[in-house]
Symmetry: C2
Subunit: 326 residues, 2 copies
Amino acid sequence: MIYTDIVLGVDIGGTNTKLGYVDRQGRCLADEVMATRSDEPPAVFFRRLHEQAERLRTTLVPSHRLLGIGIGAPNANYYKGTIEHPPNLSWVWVDIRAELSPYYQVPIAATNDANATALGEMLFGAAQGMRDFIVITLGTGLGSGIVVNGEMVYGSTGFAGEIGHTIVDPAGRACGCGRRGCLEVYVSATGLRLTVLELLARSDAPSPLRDLAFEELTSKLIFEAAQDGDPVALEGFEFTGDLLGRKLADAVAFTSPEAIFLFGGLAAAGELLFKPVRRALEENLLNIYRGTVKLLPSGVAEGKAAILGASALIWNELAKGQPDRP
Amino acid sequence: MIYTDIVLGVDIGGTNTKLGYVDRQGRCLADEVMATRSDEPPAVFFRRLHEQAERLRTTLVPSHRLLGIGIGAPNANYYKGTIEHPPNLSWVWVDIRAELSPYYQVPIAATNDANATALGEMLFGAAQGMRDFIVITLGTGLGSGIVVNGEMVYGSTGFAGEIGHTIVDPAGRACGCGRRGCLEVYVSATGLRLTVLELLARSDAPSPLRDLAFEELTSKLIFEAAQDGDPVALEGFEFTGDLLGRKLADAVAFTSPEAIFLFGGLAAAGELLFKPVRRALEENLLNIYRGTVKLLPSGVAEGKAAILGASALIWNELAKGQPDRP
């Protein structure tokens, strides 16, 4: 009997948790969404996760083998398998392996969502075969995953790769991390909204965005206004992209990547964002790096990327032990 | 007959070139200095280097085996074995292996001086056993070598690790690289001198440093003035250390090192520099990194560090192939 090897990929978000079964080729065979409800204790969440996952498993062909569980979650620590003081979950400290041990005897690995996305890009996306690259995820915040010499950079703490929390302006905007001027309060969906607010305050240019309260002013509406030629929205994208390009030029001075991938909601704005990023990146590179870095969109379909990335944690570990690494 | 295995370590500088023979334990058995004279063609330099090295070799015990040659040089490329557009040498492009092939049949490896210093720290200094660390070399400029997962970060180009050329202020001081506001024009011997000049211009505090022309105002004199309690010199060190600490906090967000080593002339100022760096580093770290990074002086004696580091290029390659890696 021939078995289909599968990995359970789980992406724990502030509101929803995505789970799905992924095969070695990066195909998502079945997936589902459940509410995270982090106001309930972690034990309740992981029991529900197990029940949901088992239900989903019955929809697969019977001849499969579960090889492991990969989990992407905010502030998840690769070395310890913990979630520590996650910014948008009510839990303080979760030992993922201990929580899942009553239900599963397979290997379990965890990391933050941006690192999981980078692993997904490496195994199943546009970074296949690359040894040095960076993935920037642009959602509510700015996450990053750094790969060096073909390996994920976890650092001594397991928390490496927080480019969103490098400082743009020490006296700048307040960040959720308690400091000021972090890159992610400028370059993210939230950052774009704040930038547009500042631009509206500073100029008297007419703009349909003036009619919106801040809570209504989504990055999607700003994108639509920019497509309609609204100068404030266009300047917002220009400012955001320029700043990201400058900071990516600094990032290149650290690890000299072959490519930088932009991923997530804001990256879907396409050339509105990519054009100023590409220009500022190239203009601000140190001479020895000029012309060496590709700026690319993600090669993983956004809908399944979180699940694929989480599963890649396990697929990558399994591939390491094999000479015929895919 | 028992042979002593040795590696020739060479550090090519703008004015002088240091060369020496180093054994597996990191002992420098014999060393020497020769003028670089980069106004002459590379072929002349490498012939002189070979002659000098052979002369020096006759001073060793006869029963030795030369296992390789490691070379540290500005803008030296690890992958290609080239020196490309070095900032303080007249040569434009040098193929080191081709130049040395008439004289030697042993493995030859090259990298820039800061990377060589980091490898020396890993094999023979205070970073022994560490898998993730950063070395900052503070001389005329600011060099850096980054180690991740126990391996030197060369990146896709072979030129990774130029933290000195990340941007502090896009409208700031002119840098030798052609851009503005690079970290190294603030944090380096040169940077300290420029900072003191600015401080003298801005205040009317009496200071013995006012009596000196800029060419006379060395970092050594500033250090001595600071030790004598001169407020301008003290403020110069404070500013320099604070800025370095802030930028190192950003560096931690990339690779989350266990330790950061400060090396070189300016680091010899001890607590005058370390104290503000340590304070600013810790104050500016993202919460998940606080208390996780050691700030340390180099554990390699400065006089021989360049030669030891260059030799470590070869010793490290040899150690990789062996299970009993030192």
